[in-house]
């Protein structure tokens, strides 16, 4: 049994396997499948300043080795979260990180302030990369100066671990990474979805109501790995890596590229048991390769 503990920005993860925001609800839905205490952590669904209905149906299209979604941050807002959801989350024996979204800097700040008060929530993940909302969302995540600005504004009010989730829809992911480091981020999460589109040739219409949506799943894994690797070489803060992770081998690839912790997103839809299986698989891999600790493979890619 290898040592799976990972410590980033002072946060202790019992293993590097967490679940991605928007792909795991508030965790509760998975209690029927397994003990959530098996996970390193859970990134819960985006929370915004107030209630959002999200986008119109249809919100989903299957694509080759992936899917498009345009959920659009549907959630009941931060007040509802604090009052009704937070108390239930506290029961889980794993790290709970809240994904914070918004349309304006004020909204991000408001949500972050509220979450800051919640005991037992050690970190937020600032989602400046959602492609599925008209204003805000991805807009903050594709221009370095605004990314710095929103990060700094949240940094000023948020006292615990500040993670910022980056959009892959940019020319230079390292420039974006540096911009949010400048703004005071403690940890970087990458990547969110790629902006894509699906068309039904028979009806000659877009498949999803918003025409374009966010592409996730194994299709984007090569892009995600590349970005994790580029950012790992460019900045000094820890990386949470994701994008198309379906099994332990994929997870290990992300760690070799530089991720300290990984998130499992779309894979939860294909196999609800996948996350604990990945924990198991990482352990087996480390044992088989005689590696004592998961920490040893972070960024350990051999490139010469």
């Amino acid at each position: 049994m290898a040592d799976l503990n990972i410590n980033i920005a002072g946060m202790q993860f019992k293993n590097p396997v967490t679940t991605a925001s928007g792909c795991f609800g508030y965790g509760e839905e998975f209690r029927d499948f397994y003990d959530l205490g098996l996970l390193g952590g859970i990134f819960v669904k985006a929370v915004t300043g107030s209630n959002r209905d999200g986008n119109k149906y249809p919100r989903m299209a299957e694509t080759p080795s992936g899917m498009l979604n345009s959920v659009g941050l549907q959630n009941k807002g931060v007040d509802h979260f604090c009052e009704f959801i937070y108390p239930r989350l506290r029961e889980f024996n794993t790290q709970i990180i809240v994904n914070v979204s918004g349309s304006t800097i004020e909204e991000y700040v408001k949500v972050a302030e509220r979450i800051n008060e919640l005991e037992g929530i050690p970190a937020i993940e600032l989602n400046i990369s959602c492609p599925n909302v008209k204003e805000g969302g991805m807009a903050f995540g594709v221009v370095p100066s605004t990314a710095t600005e929103v990060t700094r504004a949240v940094r000023d009010v948020y006292k615990k671990v500040l993670m910022v989730k980056l959009s892959p829809n940019v020319t230079s992911i390292t420039e974006m990474a540096k911009a949010v480091v400048d703004g005071g981020a403690d940890v970087l999460t990458l990547i969110n979805t790629l902006l894509g589109m699906a068309i039904n040739a028979e009806t000659q219409r877009p498949v999803i109501s918003t025409i374009t949506g966010g592409l996730s799943g194994p299709a984007i894994k090569p892009v995600a790995l590349r970005m994790v690797w580029q950012v790992f070489k460019a900045v000094k803060i820890p990386i949470v890596g994701l994008g198309g992770i379906m099994n332990a081998t994929d997870a290990i690839e992300f760690m070799l590229a530089g991720a300290s912790v990984i998130q499992v997103g779309t894979a939860n839809f294909i196999d609800p048991m996948v996350a604990p299986k990945i924990v198991e698989g990482i352990n087996e891999y480390l044992d088989r390769h005689n590696i004592a600790s998961a920490r040893e493979i972070i960024g350990a890619l051999k490139v010469c």
Binding site: C23, E62, N69, V71, F269
Partner: protein, 230 residues
Amino acid sequence: MPVILPGQFVQVLVHNSPSTFLRRPFSIHFVDYARNTLKLLVQVKGEGTRHMGMLAPGDTLNLVYPLGNSFSVPASHKVLLVGGGAGVAPLMFMGDFLNQKSIRPDFLVGFRSADEVSQVEEYSKYGKVYLSTDDGSMGEKGFVTQNPVFNQSPLPYDRIYCCGPDAMMHAVANIAAEKGVACEVSLENYMACGYGVCLCCITQTDKGNERVCIEGPVFDAARLKWQSNG
């Protein structure tokens, strides 16, 4: 097997189909606890169902089940089950379930034409069967909504349970509303997860966006805002 109720569904992992990435949802067609069997009734629509059609006896299938809510238990014995095409799937299970509660429902099933009609004798074990085909090649000609069953006034039913294509369910729900009969429909929205975490499968109801996979697939038709589906 766990306890399964009529209206619930399974999520099937389709192996060996390169273009089928997500699981595919199917209503539970029949459950035989004594024999430990669960039946699905699958219509071939695209690659996923085509590969399911290639399964041989003895092959294994990876399922997540039982998912979703179920049809309500009716308070009266006057029940009509309406189904169209592959949408008839859950009716057999519901018929058996009602029989066990000493209710013999009427069935109204619609198909495109005679060669698509199946299992009519099976249904008649559980209740009286009315049949429609679009082309009139068997039973009444026309859509199920044109079946003489619906010409009766007042309708001799206290509750209608309906599943099939969206347009058909909407039309049946409209008739039910007009005639003042309670109606439950089982929606077939596109799903990614099937267990409530992705928020892709929503339908607009009087409570806002609800998840068809968790709050449904069965809804009181009166609560639905149909325009959102598709």
